[in-house]
């Protein structure tokens, strides 16, 4: 009996395409990931390392939950759905045979689908190198046990658990909704629970509570070193074994209990079929009554439309599963809103712009699936309940029947679109935040969310109407939508006019809402909504009514349905669509130009081919600029007029200049009163989608021919006029520096010289186009390169220059520029400001910010009075005091130890959401509105990163604008490394050394994490090649050095460095070796090891506190603390080999931290105890007697050293 049912089940499933579809999808996805290496791999971890295979197996077998519900659930549900129960009940089948036959028959297919996991991984490891998408070296040996062991120990128990769960659920509830939605519900519930448990910090709980061992696999991977990751299986022992026992056991228990309770009668007796016994006599009736008046005119259509719409909505809303799915989604969104985002552990308030960003990240896909699912339900309900046989012959016209369903779904979409509003306001109120920013809510919902949801509904609707099969339609709609999404998201094809429902959508900012992008969004949505109207017409033509069995019949009905009214609408919609489309096309592809990704690459290659030879042109430098910049934010226009003094500091005459004006709309130069003529040496073939533009587009590179030759040493004054403006609507993001409120100007000057940053850097692309490999990849100009050291990092034409800048903006805004504010006035409804960079001048770049600012001013007395001005968006002033404090303390300290600050003010301006996170120019810094300004500091122990950031930015006034870095590799150690080192120092001055540990870790983690995930290895500090090296590692090593050699020595070194290199007008400019030399000179011999380690090598400590004892000595408040520590150090060689250091004697802190003794007269060692020990490699025992109760002890307890496992250094108690 079992055999029969088992065999039937297998045969049945063999013929179902669904199983093969799931298998193939899983195979392709896994194969893809393993061939590309698109996995969370660690440093030098093989793509097919056993830990990653285990991790992937756990993850994918969890995702299989989505299909498990339908495969296992349908096994049992089929008999209910198809009504075959009626005869099953009369056959001599056994309960056991039926139950286990169905179970194992389907479970076999679950295993089949699951086998795609190891198979796909294996195939991926072969395909990757074969197709050259991945380097063969990234794969280790393919040992069979790497694949089988995770399959048997992770995948098998996981799918057994979910299969038992769903089988049991369907057996008990007998409801089809469990089949569809069970998977999704559990999937969401899993994520919520993981989210909570991730915060629990208890490793054991985390491992045991995850039924799929995914958390366990992740923890195991993170705690292994590279060698372990590449060779060791995830052994099922200890907590892992307990996990498997618990969850597999639970699965078996569920299955057995379900079997025990399973009975045919109970299973097959649906509630619907409970028979009713009629009681009582039938009353004799007076006969059939006819209605006196039936009316199909007048208000019939509208009333029936309304009634049907209500009916459809009621059907959705009465569905318990709708509320479950919706509720879960709302909970997830609510969590997202509640926990929000934060930096450095300090949360931001639930600002409306942040909530909307969370919504777009988290919720939009989820809404798509709800809409798709319920569109299917609504359209097919009548057929599934077979009510259609009655309904379709009733007199409501097609458009009423069809339209009411569509309108009901649109109402659903509206409801979903309003959810972020309701939820957002509730959460804002709960958090006591009352700045609701209604304009952003309404713009966000009305202009971006609602149109998108309407487009989703129309799309899902027409797919479901045309593709008559519910599940096929689900699949097709989902695939098409995802394709459209990925095409645009990955920029493979992002031409918005041709991808349904895609609009150039960017973010919302407090300063300017959607900015000028609002216009783009509105027009593109209008375009796509008109297209959606045409989709409605298609749906009306193909709407299924009655018993229609073939395509022939459906096509037959089309002319009948295409009645005059429909024709009128179709024509109107088509006309509107074409009109809007035409206008948009004119904007996108005529007024502007659109290039595909491939065309961009072509252009980069052409640029190099055509203009590379100009690289050898001698370039003058700018020594003086007198500019008037007029900003018109409401016209999206900026105009610059002025003079620039250029000087020839090379040894060759200059007759030609190659200028790059791609940041400008138009510009002209005049020299010696004569307009300088130019030619445009490069034109591109127009983008293939820009069919009406001239055949060749002129590239923004101009070769100017100077009217007189500029001899070496000579200089000239050039008059410049330029304008920046934006016309029309381009395809993508534009005008982001030119917002109504939040303007960023770079002064309206073109850039000078051939820029190899504009070249194509990808070696693969270069080879494809037969270009030679680049000499200096990624700015890796060697430190002895004679040109490199004489060029500023800020640009080829960069030089110490003086600036006289008058900037004007609209009357309600303030324009903030670099240097000293000399004058400020209003005239003709405009607001003028006059800035100068005089005295010794400064280095580029030049940036101007204009917005409707509020200004907070303070001052600090250095050797002269310096004003501190903070320009910020109204309402964002919560942390202004912190910035001011940071600047004041920093300026005081830096001017004392590094030398005088040259300007009479320092300003901080708030940038829009498109501005860089933070940046620095002479006397003017910027921080974007998204960072720091609104951070909510509530607890005293929180890291005041506003103070810290201000201190770091202030330091750049010395390390970028008095000493300017050259163009060689590693030179960014100077402006970045020193600046963030200084920020750490200032923070330490404020909060004390003992409190620095967590802050230092925040610098350490990005370094440790990112360096293992880059395509190229990181370099030692002196040749720093990544931001996390020169910024984070640099700051940490400098801070540790200061701790070793002492603050005085450090300051002396830095002072001497600055004095040698500040205000240079002629190369060589400062490079990393120069800073290194200055530091080395001030480092005593006994500590030279440290500076060599930190600068010249990649050195990692691996110190550990193995154990400790704390014993009270008997005397009051006195303890004997014994620490068992191990000191260890590793170098990573140039060939990536790890070398364990065996013979060293390094100074490492041993610390016992806590409160001081209660009795201040007690002698002996007081806490905190912190002392440098000279430790060799290996274990050591250190015993101290301390006064005061210890809280924490360890080796390098302050976390000064770069250590790969800093958590192993200390214990808290």
């Amino acid at each position: 009996m079992f055999k029969e049912i088992f065999r039937f089940e297998v045969q049945n499933k063999l013929r179902r395409p669904a199983v093969y579809l799931y298998f193939t999808a899983l195979l392709i996805f896994t194969g893809f990931s393993f061939s590309m290496g698109a996995l969370p791999l660690g440093e030098k971890q093989y793509i097919n390392s056993p830990t990653i295979i285990a991790f992937w197996s756990a993850g994918m077998s969890m995702v299989m939950m989505l299909v498990g519900s339908s495969v296992m659930g349908m096994a049992l549900y089929r008999d209910i759905e198809f009504g075959t129960k009626d005869y099953y009940l009369t056959y001599p089948i056994t309960r056991g045979g039926y139950f286990w036959g169905r179970f194992f028959g389907s479970f076999l297919f679950i295993l089949f689908i699951a086998s795609a996991i190891p198979l796909g991984a294996f195939l991926g490891t072969k395909i990757g190198p074969a197709l050259h998408v991945s380097d063969a070296l990234r794969y280790g040996p393919n040992l069979p046990r790497y694949y089988f062991q995770p399959f048997l120990t992770i995948v098998l128990p996981n799918v057994l658990f979910t299969s038992a769960l769903f089988y049991g659920l369907v057996a008990v509830t007998r409801n089809v909704k469990v089949v569809y939605t069970g998977g999704i519900i559990l999937f969401l519930a899993y994520f919520i629970s993981v989210f909570f448990l991730d915060h629990s910090n208890n490793l054991r709980t985390m491992i045991l509570s995850d039924p799929f061992l995914l958390t366990g696999a992740r923890i195991h991977m993170n705690n292994s070193n590279t060698l372990q990751k590449n060779t060791e299986l995830l052994l099922i022992q200890g907590d892992f074994l307990i996990n498997r026992l618990i969850w597999t056991g639970l699965g078996l228990v569920i299955l057995l209990v379900t079997y025990w309770r399973f009975g045919f009668v109970r299973f097959f007796s649906g509630r619907r079929d409970r028979s009713r016994i009629d009681e009582g006599e039938a009353r004799v009736t007076s006969g059939y009554t006819r209605a006196t008046a039936v009316m199909f005119e007048g208000g019939y259509n509208s009333r029936v439309f309304a009634a049907l719409t209500r009916l459809e909505l009621r059907n959705i809303v009465k569905d318990a599963y709708f509320w479950i799915i919706f509720g879960l989604g709302a909970i997830v969104l609510g969590f997202g809103f509640w926990f929000g985002d934060g930096d450095y552990g300090v949360p931001y308030p639930p600002q409306t712009v942040r909530l909307l960003a969370v919504f777009w990240d988290v919720f939009v896909f989820f809404i798509f699936f709800i809409i798709l699912f319920y569109t299917g339900e609504t359209l097919h309900r009548d057929r599934i309940t077979r009510y259609a046989f009655i309904n379709d012959s009733l007199p409501q016209p097609n458009w009423v029947a069809n339209g009411s369903k569509l309108v009901a779904l649109l109402v659903l979409a509206l409801w979903l679109a309003l959810l972020p509003l309701f939820l957002g306001v509730i959460i804002q109120v709960c958090k006591g935040y009352h700045d609701f920013n209604w304009p952003i809510y309404f713009a966000g919902i009305g202009e971006t969310i609602l149109p998108k949801l309407i487009e989703m509904v129309l799309f899902c609707y027409v797919v479901h109407v045309v593709v008559n099969n519910k599940f096929a339609a689900h699949g097709i709609a989902a695939v098409l939508w995802l394709i459209a999404f990925f095409l645009v998201d990955t920029h493979v094809f992002d031409y918005h006019l041709l991808v349904y429902a895609s609009v150039p959508m960017e973010g919302f900012g407090d300063m300017d809402g959607l900015g000028y992008m609002a216009r783009s969004v509105r027009w593109f949505h209008t375009y796509w909504l008109l297209f959606g109207g045409l989709l409605i017409i298609v749906a009306a033509l193909f709407f299924h009514r009655g018993v229609v069995t073939s395509w022939k019949e459906r096509m037959q009905l089309v002319p009948e349905r295409f009645d005059p009214m429909t024709r009128v609408f179709a024509v109107l919609l088509l006309a509107g669509f074409l009109a809007v489309g035409g206008w948009l096309y004119y904007n996108v592809s005529y007024l502007n130009d659109y290039t595909t990704h491939g065309e961009e690459i072509e252009r980069g290659i052409e640029y190099e081919r055509a203009l590379k030879h100009y690289d050898s042109l001698p370039i003058p430098v700018m020594t003086r600029a007198k500019l008037a910049v007029d900003i018109y934010p409401n016209e999206k226009k900026e105009e610059t007029r002025g003079t620039v003094t250029i000087a020839n500091l090379t040894d060759r005459p200059i007759s030609e200049l190659l200028l790059d004006g791609d940041n400008l709309t138009d510009y002209s130069l005049t020299m010696d009163g004569v307009s300088v003529r130019f030619e445009s040496p490069l034109t591109y073939y127009r983008g293939m989608l820009d069919m009406f533009r001239p055949r060749r587009d002129t590239a923004p590179y101009r070769l100017y021919h100077l009217p007189r030759v500029l001899a070496p040493g000579d200089s000239a004054v050039v008059t410049i006029w330029s304008v920046v403006s934006y016309s029309g609507i381009p395809n993508g993001l534009y005008s982001q520096k030119a917002l109504h409120n939040g303007w960023i100007s770079t002064g309206g000057l073109p850039s000078l010289g051939y820029d190899d940053d504009d070249e194509i850097t990808s070696p693969y692309e270069r080879r494809t186009h037969h270009m030679p490999p680049r000499l200096n990849d990624d700015d890796a100009i060697p430190q002895n390169d004679p040109v490199g050291i004489r060029t500023l990092k800020a640009g080829k034409a960069g030089h110490l220059y003086s600036l006289d800048l008058t900037v004007s903006t609209s009357g309600d805004q303030t324009a903030v520029g670099p240097g000293d504010l000399v004058a400020d006035w209003k005239a003709n409804g405009r607001h003028y400001s006059h800035y100068t960079l005089s005295q010794r001048g400064s280095y580029p770049p030049l940036v101007i910010f204009s917005s409707r600012y509020v200004c907070a001013t303070d001052s600090v007395q250095l050797d002269h009075k310096v004003y501190v001005r903070i320009y910020y968006h109204p309402g964002h002033g919560a942390n202004v005091g912190r910035f001011i404090a940071g600047y004041k303390d920093a300026l005081t300290y830096y001017s004392e130890v590094y030398g005088s600050y040259p300007y009479n003010s320092i300003s901080l301006a708030e940038g829009s959401l498109y501005a860089p996170q933070f940046g620095s120019t002479p006397a003017l810094d910027e921080i974007t509105e998204r960072y720091a300004w609104t951070a909510q500091f509530t607890a005293p122990g929180q890291f005041d990163y506003c103070y810290y950031t201000a201190a770091g930015l202030a330091a750049q006034q010395w390390w970028r604008f008095q000493v300017a870095p050259n163009e060689t590799i590693g030179s960014l150690d100077i402006p970045e490394g020193l600046a963030w080192y200084d920020a750490l120092v200032m923070t330490e001055h404020k909060i004390g050394k003992q409190s620095m540990r967590w802050i230092l870790q925040q610098q350490l983690w990005p370094y440790l994490f990112r360096r293992t995930r880059m395509d190229e290895p990181d370099e030692p500090l002196i040749r720093a090649n990544f931001g996390f090296v020169w910024g984070q590692k640099g700051a940490l090593e400098l801070y540790a050095l200061r701790d070793l050699i002492g603050e005085e020595n450090m300051n002396a070194a830095l002072r001497s460095f600055k004095d040698s290199f500040a205000y240079r007008t002629l190369g060589p400019y400062a490079g990393a070796p120069d800073l290194y030399a200055a530091l080395k000179a001030h480092t005593p011999d006994s500590l030279q090891y440290f500076i060599e380690d930190s600068w010249l090598k990649r050195r990692f400590y691996e110190n550990t506190l193995d154990s400790f004892t704390v014993v009270a000595t008997g005397r009051p408040d006195e303890y004997k603390v014994t620490l068992f520590v191990t000191a260890a150090k590793t170098w990573i060689e140039h060939d990536e080999r790890e070398v364990q250091a065996t013979a060293f004697e390094d100074y490492i802190d041993i610390g016992i931290l806590g409160d001081g003794p209660k009795d201040s007269t007690a002698g002996g060692l007081k806490l905190p105890f912190l002392q440098k020990f000279k430790l060799s490699a290996g274990p050591h025992v250190i015993t101290e007697i301390v006064h005061g109760k210890p809280h924490m002890a360890g080796i390098d307890p302050l976390g000064l050293l770069i250590d790969r496992h800093p958590g192993a250094n200390v214990r808290f108690f």
Binding site: Y288, I390, Q396, N398, T549, K552, L557
Partner: protein, 295 residues
């Protein structure tokens, strides 16, 4: 009112010929459609009820082109399908009210009155507030009848309406149909030949998509007068008799096989002449297309 079907044909995409050149004229009153399963009765009814398209032919209802002007037809149609479902979580009363509104009964009070009366007529008054999902098969069928009759239908199509009804309910239903009054066409398809002979003023026999006979029941029976003979034989003799005579029906009674044959003149000994009935009309027509032996 007159419903005129001209040369209606329909072939399904799998090649099955559901209707082949069907022509019928239906006057006011009850019209019975008799035929074996798969004859095309339901296809015909669904086509008239605007649920299905035809490949060729036409249907005219007093000048209204039924195939093209579906909306107008639906406005005077009452249809009880052979198989149908219901929304399980709606009550009968509410569903009927909704359908009444769809059928053009504007006035809320009138709807309430009509729904109440009809629920009484089909004996569902007691259960009118219960959800349709809880109804038994027979109750569902009675609901179907109610929804077909509600409103003001002038063309009523009932497809196997008495399936699932006990004899008393069947009688009640037919009483209801009879009281429908003038100027209404009722098309009734059924297997129960007796119902056609009792109720219908006209009828047609359909088999394999073709009309085999159309006319009035009495006349049909009359035309077979003197042509029907019966004899009791042994089971094993059937094949022999089928060779010699046109056997139109067989019936097993108390171990003996009673056969009925149709013959212009008296057959050999042992055969008894009997008065014909509508069943004989049915079987004699069907026998020209199918093997009607019930053994």
């Amino acid at each position: 009112m007159q419903l005129s079907i001209q040369r209606l044909s329909k072939t399904y995409s799998n090649g099955v010929r559901a209707l082949h050149d069907v022509s019928l004229t239906l006057p006011n009153g009850m019209f019975g459609l008799l035929g074996p399963n798969g004859a095309g009765k339901s296809s015909l009814m669904r086509t008239i009820a605007t649920l299905q398209e035809a490949d060729s032919g036409s249907i005219a209802l007093d000048g209204l082109d039924v195939l093209r002007e579906k909306k107008r037809v639906r406005q005077l149609l009452g249809y009880l399908p052979q198989e149908f479902g219901v929304y399980p979580k709606v009550s009968a009363e509410r569903m009927l009210d909704h359908i009444a509104r769809l059928k053009g009964v504007e006035d809320a009070r009138e709807r309430k009155q009509l729904v109440g009366a009809l629920l009484e007529n089909v004996n569902l008054s007691k259960d009118r507030r219960k959800h349709l999902g809880t109804y038994s098969g027979g109750m569902k069928q009675r609901f179907g009848i109610a929804q077909a009759l509600i409103g003001n239908p002038r063309l009523i199509i009932v497809d196997e309406p008495t399936a699932g009804l006990d004899p008393a309910e069947r009688n009640r239903f037919y009483n209801l149909l009879s009281s429908l009054g003038e100027n209404t066409i009722v098309i009734l398809s059924t297997h129960i030949v007796e119902d056609v002979s009792t109720l219908c003023s006209n009828f047609a026999i359909i088999c394999m998509g073709e009309v085999l006979y159309a006319g009035e029941p009495d006349r049909a029976v009359e035309s077979l007068a003197g042509k029907i003979y019966t004899k009791a034989i042994g089971k094993e003799e059937l094949a022999a008799y089928q060779q010699r005579y046109k056997v139109i029906s067989t019936q097993l009674k108390a171990g003996r096989l009673h056969i009925r044959v149709i013959r212009d003149g008296a057959p050999e000994d042992g055969f008894e002449a009997v008065a014909p009935n509508l069943e004989d009309v049915y079987f004699s027509n069907i026998a020209t297309r199918m093997d009607v032996n019930t053994i």
